[in-house]
Amino acid sequence: MIGYIDKIREISLKLLNEEKVDMVIGYRKGSLPMMTEPCFVKRPEDVETLIWDSNCRINLAAYLMDRKEKIGIVAKGCDSRNIINHLVENKIKREQLVIIGAPCKGMIDKKAVALQFGQDIDEYQETEDQITVKGGGTEKTFQKVDVLQENCAICNHRNPVVYDELAGDLVEEQTDIDRYEDIRKIEAMDIDEKWNFFEDMLSPCIRCYACRNACPLCYCPTCFVDESKPQWVGKSNDPNDTRTFHFLRAFHCAGRCTDCGACERACPMDIPVRLLTKKLGKDCLDIYGWEAGLDPEQRPPLDTFKPDDPNVGIK
């Protein structure tokens, strides 16, 4: 993945010079080590600000909704699946987009690295398979595969599903992975255990809505938590309201979530909110054989009706 940046810049320069797009959406260097910032580039001379490394975690599809320009966009496997969701849900038109596919071997879990390193990280470097962090007069090298974000470690769609250009060769897809070990553990709990588990899991929530806002699926003009007539959800940090927000949001994502992990990455309190959306993803797979964001011609199972629908959800 290391070599992608030259190619991303080259493609972006060409697209802007030839006026095939008005802007390219990508990542630029962050002010902190192990961080990048989503950005747009409109002038050919600015393509040098674009970067690519294993810290390009944010899902760029979240920056596309309802834009009117012609856009070049850097897309990992998950970003490309969310672009397909947008196409299906009419949030953007295919002809507006030039998708610069970035076959992905997974993004680094910054918090896991920080925890294992045990002190402030001042410098970060990466090679094809390793990362090295420095700080406080010491350094540590990690194999990337050991510190991948959990959703990346179990990803089965690393290559962009749809693309017009490629920033690098397609990578091998992971096949021998168990995506739902954690979900099965929760499914096996009795009702009280589940209640306690979720209550504990959601207890640090500060209702900042970073999970919702980072999510490419959450584009409702007015979210149900912001409705005032009627007001469905209270605004305080009462646990009932917090639960209602998280559970309802997860259901709104059923059959649409690509497990890109943007929600968890954005959460300032490290709440594993993916556990909710993953369970619904698992149900969609088990019941309908459905994975979101793979086919622009197919609507998600929960907004279609078929006479042979298994109806498992309403039994």
Binding site: S31, E37, F40, A62, P204, A210, S236, P268
Partner: protein, 347 residues
Amino acid sequence: MKVIQIDTNQWTEGLAKLEGSYRMFGPAETEGKYPEFKELEKGDVPNLNVPNTHLSAKSVVYPQSEVMFEYTLDEAKEDHHQLREIEKDYSPRAVFGIRPCDAAANLIIKRNFDSKEYRDPYWVDSFESCVFIGHACENPGATCFCTSVGFGPFNEDGLDLLLVESGNGGFLAKVITDKGAVLAKSAGWETETDAAALEPLKEQAEAKIRSKVNTDQLVKQDAKELFDAPFWEDIGFACLNCGTCTYSCPTCWCFDIQDEVKDKSGIRMRNWDSCMYPLFTLEGSGHNPRPEKHHRIRQRFMHKLKYYVDKYQAGVQCVGCGRCVRLCPVNIDIRTVCEKMNSYKPA
């Protein structure tokens, strides 16, 4: 003011003594979660082994949600549809382990909640009930920039006592106010020591702060020119408009008032609000004066780094704790924005 030596035994015994006369607050750790400021259970001691709490100590004085009134809609009751004040506990609180940045932030909030024109009773009464026992930062973090905004790792603004670690679990405590002196006496911490011991520690800690930001030109900048500066769309592009920066900020003071009614009884509460949310400025007519996200992020930075600066002539509305820098999911960095605003030259 004097400096007191507190050894480990005196520390533990002192905390136990104080439990009788103060509600105790401090950083507390729950398994698997970040340490945060909480009211401590009897017998629990504040955890001073944490670098700085994940969220600020703002919530001790100013909780995220606070009920102000209750009422009944039951017309059979004589006082139906009348607001009744909720009884509050403003008995003395001892707030242990607050870092100098968070303590200084309370004084910034005080300018808003305790002015000549207005006195917010909930915030002021709560603030005045507290004795703040600060914890000097001998090892400031990589994103700390308190020395750039007029404070520092041993800063005393907003503190009554300042604890400096002296090894083996003991502390040197600088007594800053009479409130602090009273608390130290009730705890039995009375062994005076040489105040000169603190100065080199302070200098060492300040030297460890590597992050610097320039704020000197902000006051001279023209507010309208900054408002119209071309960089806001670029800064705002990545912004998710979540409330992480505002909720983790020790100096963000905005709130929203809400009524909640169940059957016939209701409460009126206030909750932290965030200028990052579209709802923050949505008017009853449906008009929103800040419709786009770059309008909202501009508001946050203009408020902290220009409007506040002009209004109070007391520096920026930021204590350099670095929380928004660390927690922003898309790495929008107030230090970078501040430099842009500070060095801006209109075309």
